[in-house]
Subunit: 76 residues, 2 copies
Amino acid sequence: MKATVTVMLKPGVLDPQGEAVKSALGAMGFDGVEGVRQGKVIELDLAPGTTEAQVTDMCEKLLANTVIESYRVEIA
Amino acid sequence: MKATVTVMLKPGVLDPQGEAVKSALGAMGFDGVEGVRQGKVIELDLAPGTTEAQVTDMCEKLLANTVIESYRVEIA
C-alpha cells in the first residue's frame, strides 16, 4: 500500500524557494511564469492495513507544520 | 493555466531525507512504514498559451537534476 503526502505552504506564507525559482526561470528566458510555489512530496510505502487516519496522524505530528503548511493525502 | 511538476530522486539514489522521516516515524510509534522517499513539488502559474513542451524544458534546464532525479509534469 502506498500513500502520497503533498505538503505546500499555505497561501499568504512567503515562499522564498518559489520566488527564487520564478526569478531563475525569468532570467533563463522563460516568459509567462506568473507564480511559483514549491512544496514537498513524501511517498510512503505502508504495511497492508494501515489506515488513511494513521497517515493523517503522521502528517499532523511530523510531516507538515500545520501552522504554515497544508497537506493532502492520496492513498494508492 | 497551472502546471504541477513533481521531482523525485531516481530509484537507487540514496535519499537521506526519506530515511530520516522513516526513522522518525518509527521512533514515534508508527509501525508499518516500510519505506519513505521525499521529493519536491513545484506549482507553476503560467500565462495562457504556455505549452507542456516549455514546462518540460524548464524541468530539464532548472527544476530537476536529471542525473539523479526524475520528474513528471501535470497540466491542469
